[in-house]
Amino acid sequence: MMAIRRQTLVLATLLTPVTLFLGVFFLLPLLIIALFSVLTPGLYGGVEWAFYHWNYGRIFGWADDIIEVYEPIYLQILMRSLGFAALTVLLCLILCYPVAFWVSRLPHRWRMFFLFLITLPFFSSLIVRLYAWLLILKPSGILNTVLIGVGAISEPLEILYTPAAVVLGMVYVMVPFMFLPLYSAVDNLDRALIEASMDLGATRLQTFLKVVLPQTLPGILGGAVIVFIPSVGNFIVPDVLGGAKGLMIGNLVEQQFLSARNWPFGSALSMIVMAVVLAVLLGSMAAAKRKGGQNA
């Protein structure tokens, strides 16, 4: 009896801080976003406390003829964001998978060294690394200077401020996040499975497609989720490297809040981003559960 009461007291003391803190500074803000997304935009920014149902409509192109006319651009930007994020995941996968394989086959000391090398840039500032890409990709930047100097091209390549630059930047930023789960999956792969597959007559390619890929699938999915979610809502990379053609939904949200001062619309856009994130999370959890059932 006394033991239980003492236990409850200790437990309450341990849990109260996080409950209060996250409840107030995490849940409440999210609820406010949800609330604002259905309110009327104020004339000079802020909100008017009246229900306004067109915020979501505007995203998909409809207008209420009071504020704007039909503008499918928001939908385009949303689709572009999803596309960029998906492309980022794919490119990260293609880049990281072979390297993960290579590192996992190295002798132990080298393995530690290269793992350290991969995670090291993570510790240096994101904005610094993106700024560096600016220096590299500029028309007067290193890449062009080298290529022109070597004679490979005569005119500078216009990479900066194109969608390509945005994807490149995001891939660069996300590579460590994809690498670690992938490496973990590849490292845990039982070599005996590969040997068994070849023993039974499968070629290297077949072994890779039929044995290695399926076995490392959980790592692939995990990495994909960890990369996709921040990529969708990213606004730094498109802001630094993207220009007008690389605008993503994150930039849109930032604009609505800081320049256009249309908070309800910005909130609606945020809600869409949240919805995408939740869909991806739920999807990955369902996939994990199904895989778990298969392996049982």
């Binding site: 009896m1 006394m2 033991a3 003492r6």
Partner: protein, 355 residues
């Protein structure tokens, strides 16, 4: 009044599938203040659950545990005058041996000087004088075991609980520690409750053995009583090697009963209250048989060499199960295929009370 009284202790567990089973199914037990009691049984019999109920890490669903008449249920583990030696020793790896051992006094707020004296004394009792400055990671398994022991006795508990403390040690070390534990218990004069699944250990160390199975007590008694007079088949087979004979009583004369197995093997039993035609199960230990020129006719099917002894499996001529016999090894010891005769002391067979 006994030091520890356990009255109808019950503890139920829910399986992952949702079924309920009783880890403790109505345990009644008294422990004296200076006794060495062993809880013996196969895995899952409830002996560890019972131990943890006494120390306070499990709560009973029914019944009570009384220490000196006080119900322990109201006391959380850190208030009970009971200490535990854990199976994994559970030494604090971030503390020195000295601090580990003195921990109970440290949390009571005793001053450093008296703590240091008590620690030195405790270390001496377990034979680890001078090891105070080391860390657990620098010690061998046997030494760690002693630290766990010293740590548990320094607070002068009324009762010490030991959860299979010797299971991680090799055979020689284990036998040595058995003797040391028994000596320590005598020196300290407190009660020890010892949990093990090793029946040899139980026989060696205990004042009394509590044989448990499936949450219930099968039999309580001194080692000799349990060994010589097991109550039922389970206890008979759990302790020591045994031969069981399913018999029917043929005739009774002069206080002895002549009984016979289905195959026709004949045994003389103490008559007791038996009547002709009764069925009985008799226990005869391998050491109860001797090889002679008269007795049960049998052929040796297997001879297992055990150092000083030979463990023989013999097939009775009339048929039936193999009988196990222990004989001293010598040049004339029988080999496989030899025909032998088994003799036994008529007082040796023990009839089981129950199946």
């Amino acid at each position: 009044m006994a030091l520890l009284e356990i009255r109808n202790a019950r503890r139920d567990f829910v399986t992952p599938e949702g079924g309920k089973f009783a880890a403790l199914d109505g345990i009644d037990l008294d422990i004296g203040a200076h006794e060495f009691v062993t809880l013996l049984g196969p895995s899952g019999c409830g002996k560890t659950t019972l131990l943890r109920s006494i120390s306070g890490f499990e709560t009973l669903d029914g019944g009570a545990i009384l220490l000196d008449g006080t119900d322990l249920a109201a006391l959380p583990p850190f208030r009970r005058p009971v200490n535990t030696v854990f199976q994994s020793y559970a030494l604090f790896s971030h503390m020195t041996v000295a601090r580990n051992v003195g921990y109970a006094l440290e949390v009571r707020g005793e001053d450093r000087a008296s703590r240091e004296r008590a620690v030195a004394e405790a270390l001496e009792k377990v034979g680890l004088t001078g090891m105070g400055a080391r860390k657990p990671s620098q010690l061998s398994g046997g030494q760690r075991q002693r630290v766990a022991l010293a740590r548990a006795i320094i607070g002068k508990p009324r009762l010490l609980l030991l959860d299979e403390p010797l299971s991680a040690l090799d055979r020689n070390l284990r036998q040595q520690m058995q003797i040391e534990l028994k000596t320590l218990q005598n020196t300290l004069g407190i009660a020890f409750i010892f949990v093990t699944h090793d029946q040899e250990e139980a026989l060696t160390m205990s004042d009394r053995i509590v044989v448990m199975r499936a949450g219930q007590i099968e039999q309580i008694g001194t080692p000799r009583a349990i060994y010589r007079h097991p109550k039922n088949r389970f206890v008979a087979e759990f302790i020591g090697e045994t031969n069981l004979f399913a018999l029917t009583i043929d005739r009774i004369e002069a206080g002895q009963a002549m009984a016979r197995t289905a195959e026709g093997l004949e045994l003389l039993l103490p008559a007791g209250a038996a009547k002709v035609g009764d069925k009985a199960v008799a226990v005869l230990r391998p050491a109860d048989f001797t090889l002679s020129d008269q007795g049960i006719a049998a052929t040796v099917t297997k001879a297992v060499y055990l150092g000083s002894d030979l463990h023989l499996f013999v097939q009775p001529a009339v048929g039936g199960a193999e009988i196990r016999v222990t004989a001293r090894d010598s040049a004339s010891a029988p080999k496989e295929g030899t025909k032998v005769h088994l003799a036994y002391d008529p007082a040796a067979p023990h009839v089981l009370e129950a199946a």
